[in-house]
Symmetry: C2
Subunit: 378 residues, 2 copies
C-alpha cells in the first residue's frame, strides 16, 4: 500500500449570508449567517461526479488529511485520505467540513452572535444531525455538485451519512456509515449525559458564559477521560496498559500509579486546549436526539440506487454490532443495496480511526465498484 | 420462598484502642484507634461455628439487613439475609461491618484524627483491601470466633472474601465471592480514576479539606452517575428506559429529555447526601491496588479445606465472566474445592443485588452442604 500524504492543505470557509439565507433548524429556530469551515483534497472533475463527503465524529474537524503549515500533526483520517489511499485523492475530490455547532471554524456556541456581538454561549440554538446535514448540503450545492460519489464517516460521522441518505437520497451514489447507529441507546445517552453533567458541574462553566474568562477545563477533561474509556475495548486497554505502573511501586497517594491513569489524564488535559466545552454539550445532544429508526432511514422512494457499505468492529462496545446490523436490516427491508463488513478488530470504537488496512481494502474496492457501476449505467 | 424480614436492627461499634492496638497498614503506616461499625443478625451458637461474614461493595455499609428505627429503607442485602432466606438467620449468625476507610461509622477520612482533633481528610492513610480484612479480623476475633462458616460478598465485597482466604485460610470453612475479580483490569482502574478526577475537579473538594464547609457534591454526583452506567447492562438499560422521554417531545434545551438522564441525575443527587467524597477516593484506590493474581490468592498451604462457590453474571461487563473464571482456575490449580455458577442475568453488575431467587437457591444449598460436610468430618 502506498503511504503518500496529500501534503500541505488549508482550511477554507463557506458562509451562507446575508439573510434571508438562514438555516431553519429542526427545533424551528433560525440561525444565520452560518459559516462552515471545510477542506478539500484532490480535484473535482468536469462532470462533478467524483466528490466524496467525509463526515467527522464528535471531536473531529474539517482537517481530515494532510498538514497545515507549521503543524506536525496530520489530519484525523490522514491514513485513509491521500494519493493511493482508501479515499484516493488521485481519483476523487474529497470534502470535509466542521459540523454546525463545532468549534473549529464552523458556526457554533463559541461564535459571535450577530444579534449581540458576543459569543452565543447557551443562546446558540440546540442543533440536530439533520441541521448539520442541511448546512453541509449548502456547502455541497455551492460547488455545483448534483450527486456525491459517496459520503463516509465513523461514529457521529456515520450518523451524518445516514442522515444524508434519509434527507437527500438522490444526492448519494453511495454511502459508507462506519461504527454507528440509527439511534443512541439509553447507555449511549447516559455516557453523553454524564459528560454534559461533568462540564456543567464545573463552576467555570457559568451557564455557558465563560468566553474571555477561564473555561471549564476540569469538567471537560473529566468528560473526555470518560469518553476515552468508551472508545477503547477492555482488551485493547489490557494490551496497551495492563496494570503497568508509572513507578516501581504503589505511591500510596492519589497521584498517578497506573499507566492507564496517566494516559487518561494526558488525554483529558490535551483535549481541553483544543475544544470548546459548549460545543461538547451541543454536539452530544445532537447525537442523543438523532433517531432514524422505525423506517425513517429510508422512508423516501426517491433513492436512485444508492449503494451502501456498512462497516462495524467486533470489539466496539460503545456502538455495538447489533446497531450496525439494524442499519443493514432497515436498508434491506427497503431494498437498498448494502454490503455489510464486520472487522475483527480489538481496538473498540477507536477502530474506525486505527484499522487502516482493512478499511482501505474494503473502501477502495467498494468505491471502484460504485464508479464502474455508474459507467455501466451509461 | 419465605419473605420475612429480620425486623428492627441496630448498628454497633467495635473499637480497638487504645494504642498500641494500632493497625499496621499495607503502606507501612499505622492507624489507631480504629472503629468498625457493624451489625449482626441471628444468634451465634455455643460452638461459635455458625458465623457468616458479609462484606459490602464500594458504597455499602454495615446495614445489610432489617430496618433501623424510623427508617423505611431495608438493608442493602435484605432480600438475601433473614429468616428462611439465603443467609438464614434462623440458622446462622450474620456479621456485616462497614469497611475501614468508609463513612458509615467506621474509621475513615471523615473521622476525627486523634493527632489533630480534626477530620483526617487527606491525612488519612491510603488503605488496601488487606487492611480492610485485617481490621475485620479483629472484629471477628472479638466474638471469640475461630472459624467462619462462610464469608460472602459481591464486587468489592468479593475482593474482601478473596483477601480473607489469602490471609486467613484456616478461618474460613467456605467462601462465596460474587461478581468480582482477582485484580482490576485497566478498564476498571480507568473508571475509578475518572470518578476520582470528577471529585477532585470539584473546587469544593479543596484537597480533601471540606468538612464543615460545602462538600464537593457536584463532583461526587458525576462520579456516581458514571458508576451507575457501569452497574447496568446495555440490555437492562434498554429494558428499563429505552429512549422514553420525560415529556412528549425534545426540550431543545439541556434539561432532562430522556428518562435515563433523569434516573442518573436522581441517583447522583441522592448519593451525595449519604456518602463522603473522600471515602469514595480511598475505597476506589483500595480496589485498584488489590491484586491477588499470580498465585497470591492461594499461596499458603494452611487451607483446611475451604470450599468455594464463585458466582458471576453473564451480562456483567464491569466484572466480566473471564475474571470469575480466573478465580476458579487459580483455586483449582491449588486444589481448592470450588463450584462455579454463571447466572444468565440481564441486570449487569447490579445482578448481585437483584438476582435474589437464583442466588438464594445456590447459596442456601451450598451453605447446607458446607454444614453437613463439617458434620461428616466429626
Amino acid at each position: 500500500m502506498e503511504d503518500k500524504s496529500i501534503g500541505l492543505v488549508e482550511t477554507k470557509y463557506f458562509t451562507f449570508a446575508p439573510a434571508p439565507d438562514e438555516l431553519v433548524l429542526a427545533s424551528g429556530q433560525k440561525i444565520g449567517p452560518v459559516t462552515l469551515a471545510y477542506e478539500t483534497y484532490g480535484k473535482l472533475n468536469q462532470k462533478k461526479d467524483n466528490a466524496i463527503l467525509i463526515l467527522h465524529a464528535l471531536s473531529g474537524d474539517a482537517h481530515a488529511a494532510g498538514f497545515h503549515q507549521k503543524d506536525q500533526k496530520a489530519g484525523w483520517w490522514d491514513m485513509m485520505i491521500g494519493p493511493g489511499k482508501a479515499f484516493d485523492t488521485d481519483r476523487y475530490f474529497i470534502i470535509c467540513s466542521n459540523v454546525l455547532g463545532g468549534c473549529k471554524g464552523s458556526t457554533g456556541p463559541s461564535s459571535l452572535n450577530p444579534a449581540t456581538g458576543k459569543p452565543y454561549g447557551l443562546d446558540f440554538p440546540i442543533i440536530t444531525i439533520l441541521d448539520m446535514a442541511n448546512a453541509q448540503k449548502k456547502l455541497i450545492d455551492s460547488f455545483g455538485i448534483k450527486k456525491l460519489l459517496s459520503a463516509a464517516g465513523g461514529s457521529m460521522g456515520g450518523m451524518q451519512v445516514l442522515q444524508w441518505f434519509a434527507s437527500f437520497p438522490d444526492m448519494l451514489a453511495s454511502a459508507i456509515p462506519i461504527a454507528t447507529t440509527l439511534k443512541h441507546s439509553p447507555q449511549q445517552i447516559a455516557f453523553d449525559e454524564v459528560s454534559r453533567q461533568a462540564i456543567m458541574a464545573d463552576p467555570d462553566w457559568n451557564k455557558g458564559n465563560y468566553y474571555g474568562k477561564s473555561k471549564p477545563e476540569r469538567g471537560l477533561a473529566v468528560a473526555r477521560m470518560m469518553g476515552h474509556i468508551t472508545y477503547m475495548s477492555d482488551k485493547s486497554m489490557e494490551e496497551k496498559f495492563s496494570r503497568r505502573m508509572k513507578s516501581k511501586d504503589y505511591s500510596f497517594t492519589f497521584k498517578t500509579d497506573f499507566e492507564v491513569e496517566g494516559y487518561l489524564r494526558y488525554k483529558g488535559d490535551s483535549f481541553v486546549k483544543r475544544f470548546d466545552p459548549n460545543s461538547y454539550l451541543y454536539i452530544t445532544k445532537a447525537m442523543d436526539y438523532f433517531d432514524l429508526s422505525e423506517g425513517r432511514l429510508a422512508s423516501g422512494t426517491g433513492s436512485d440506487g444508492t449503494r451502501f457499505m456498512v462497516i462495524a468492529f467486533k470489539s466496539d462496545w460503545l456502538y455495538p454490532l447489533y446497531q450496525s446490523r439494524e442499519i443493514v436490516n432497515q436498508l434491506k427491508y427497503r431494498q437498498v443495496g448494502v454490503t455489510y463488513c464486520e472487522i475483527p478488530s480489538t481496538y473498540g470504537h477507536d477502530a474506525f480511526l486505527l484499522e487502516v488496512d482493512e478499511q482501505t481494502h474494503l473502501i477502495k474496492h467498494f468505491l471502484t465498484s460504485v464508479c464502474s457501476g455508474k459507467e455501466n449505467e451509461k
